[in-house]
Assembly symmetry: C2
Homo-oligomer: 457 residues x 2
């Protein structure tokens, strides 16, 4: 990679001091990382870089799967790790004001201590930052009930490319005063501004959790079950996770660490969870509703968790995604398809994989949100062909009008596929926004769009 401008680095050292500039040689991410400790310092950094045309990569927990935190040339890294304070938990208004560098799990636990819930949860909770969650509009395990990160934000502070600080730390649930600027920046992957602080909406902490694993015979019944449960659990259904046998039966195989709560041999394995308010009556209702689903023939078999230990064991099966890397070289995909076309989509991907030698094709996902994680690869490395697998997966997503990125964003790794899910007019409009807000293209260049496409737009 080429070198950042030495004069710029000196100016940044002068602004931030020795603690504020670090060199961290790295193959993929920027070598030089600046670590401002306040919004004013972020603004100062951007003013210097904008004047010099020095590009930056905003860095959160670096847990994203789309390469949004990669360097593509001589970018400097802009880490928000020193801006990690929880500035306020307002129990009265049920909001939380946090700095962007705050680790998600820290924020969640701080809310819990006040008997409140910040309903964002996924595997990387211990290293992902709230700023990164906002920049990528992170999803996770409770989207069906609480929405994406976007839906949990009331206010935002953003520093624009030229250093202008836009402080919109709104705490009001209703505020229709002009354009809702926060939505321009949430999910923009750091390409339009640097998020420095946010006001998050908190919810009452649930007082009961009811979790079950269900065996379902057909995909049609999976869809029916989702609607059936959702209608009967009155807004408390918070997870509806589906594991295909390729996932469940591999992760609970004999000799590996998980005991299968349900025997192998079913069509689908569905993890459902409701979060309620009254442990006793919620448990009774949950059992009654699942009993009804059994009677209706929507469910063939069910295990209801009787303890936190059983619940954790179930979620560990769902979350043991890293074990899939033992299947051989694989690619993990994060896509969406509408429910009515999902079965045919999966069949078409499967058929193409079946025609290959030593195929790996594993599927699971947040089905309540139309979101599938598809794992394709080969059990023998000699049969692994990246381009062919990309062609199989994205070709099928395109034919089924799906989304090439459900929850992980575009970054650099899905840039080529973006036009499959967005029209030329949509992309042109997006790039117009990029050019308006960041005319020198210093903010996370080459993410979502190439620098060439942006300058030609």
């Amino acid at each position: 990679m080429s070198e950042p401008n030495a004069d710029v680095i000196q100016q940044l050292r002068d602004l931030l001091g020795e603690k504020g500039v670090r060199c961290d040689p790295n193959d993929v991410m920027p070598d030089i990382i600046v670590k401002p400790a306040s919004t004013a310092e972020v603004s100062g950094v951007l003013k210097i870089c904008n004047a010099a045309g020095q590009a930056l990569v905003p860095l959160g927990g670096k847990t994203g799967l789309a390469g949004g935190h990669f360097a593509t040339g001589d970018e400097i890294g802009l880490s928000l790790e020193r801006m990690n304070a929880i500035e306020e938990i307002d129990e009265h208004n049920r909001t939380m004001t946090v700095q962007a560098g705050c680790i998600l799990q820290v924020a969640v636990e701080a809310a819990e201590e006040k008997d409140l819930l910040f309903p964002l949860d996924f595997g990387a909770r211990g290293s992902a930052t709230v700023g990164g969650n906002l920049a990528t509009n992170a999803g996770g395990n409770m989207v069906i009930r609480y929405g994406m990160t976007r839906d949990m934000v009331l206010g935002l502070e953003v520093v624009l490319a030229d250093g202008t600080v836009i402080t919109s730390l709104n705490k009001l649930l209703k505020n229709n005063t002009g354009y809702d600027l926060k939505h321009w920046f949430i999910g923009a992957e750091g390409t339009l501004g640097v998020i420095t602080r946010a006001v998050l909406r908190l919810r009452p902490l649930p007082r009961s959790e009811n979790t079950a694993l269900l065996a379902v015979d057909t995909f049609s019944h999976v869809g029916d079950l989702l609607r059936w449960l959702d209608a009967r659990t009155a807004g408390t259904l918070s997870s509806f996770e589906v594991m295909w046998p390729s996932y469940y039966e591999f992760i609970t195989r004999e000799g590996y660490q998980h005991t299968p709560p349900l025997p192998h041999g079913s069509g689908y394995y569905v993890l459902v969870e409701t979060l309620g308010a009254d442990p006793e009556s919620d448990a009774a209702r949950f059992e009654e509703v699942l009993g009804g689903a059994l009677e209706e023939g929507l469910v063939m078999d069910a295990v209801i968790c009787q303890s936190e230990k059983e619940r954790n064991a179930l979620w560990e099966i769902r979350d043991d995604v890293l074990e899939l890397f033992n299947l051989g070289p694989i690619i993990t995909y994060d896509i969406s398809v509408t429910l009515d076309r999902m079965e045919a989509f999966v069949a078409e991907v499967q058929a193409q994989m079946d025609a290959r030698r030593n195929p790996v094709c594993v599927i699971f996902g947040h089905l309540g949100d139309c979101n599938l994680h598809v794992i394709l690869g080969a059990s023998d490395a000699a049969d692994f062909d990246y381009d062919e697998l990309q062609g199989i997966l994205y070709g099928t997503v395109k034919r089924f009008d799906g989304s090439v990125s459900a929850e992980h964003g575009i970054g650099v790794l899905k840039r080529e596929q973006l036009p499959m899910s967005r029209s030329a007019d949509e992309l042109h409009l997006m790039m117009g926004m990029k050019n308006m807000l960041d005319p020198k293209n210093i903010l996370n260049p080459n993410k979502i769009f190439t620098a060439e496409d942006v300058s030609a737009a």
Copy 2:
């Protein structure tokens, strides 16, 4: 008002035919109204108008309270009333695709027939259009649970000022592929593009409704009650409407049409409603939770509705806002203040009104959303002073860091107050967007910002 360009009118007649152009002389709204019947026709209208610099006012149900549908010069009206079809209700994916001119109530009832809920509801449901709801990001009676209109939208079709059609009719709950364009246009009051179609997210139709009116002695208990109920009703609390005695005791006064369900003399009257899934157990739970609130001293008295008739009677009291016009000349305000400062805010407004002759000061609102409707006026017309009342209300909102528009938008009527709730930098950013998307300022000019401010930005 000045006249629209005659040559433009002739071109529009040629495009749309006689049915598509009407003259409807009017003091406030545009005289000439074009009525395209398809997205292609909307695009054609905008191309003609953009080429000629002819301004337009997009028209929905014309029920907005901020004057977003007023003409400010020689604008032509662009009515979407002929684009009123429900194109699809997708029961499998629980979405609804509607044209912008569809009346809200028609959409809600069509969803209900399929056992699904479109959770947007407010007084003007019978004449407001979905397009207008989207353009203003309408709120209403269930925001605490389901959010604003923005939160119910999955996909959008918009025609830009130059006639470009952006069709993003996404049906997926999760779709992180580039900037989420729909949020640029929702709540932009028709100033950035004309919304022609939308994909709306539907929910399971609730199977139980439980409604009560509660008497509460202090404001501190009102806030406690909100949090207490929300934590114990597990996501089913859908309304938390508070009436101050000035509202409740006037609307249920002797000799007028409503019987007071609770006697006069309390500090606050709170209408709460939960929407659930199981009529029998939900009713028992609702009673138990309210019983707990009585025991805790949060509630002094309660009436639980035992029938749909009693429920309707209660909502009719809450919704009988037009009766307030019999108090004398009044101004109705729609503002937000955070819960922790709301009591002091109301006291300060009240004190200023008490110092006036023949004051009218009535307060009620969607308290779960921090949203108050404040009615100020004078029982004797001689004592009504518009400017002074505006000064009292907005001066206090500004001191309490509130929002000058919670759910009705800015339009022309709140333009002057917008800078109280938004910083100069925020406004500059918004106007940059306006200039980018509508460089000739033909789309609803003088709404949110004056044309002069936009061209100077």
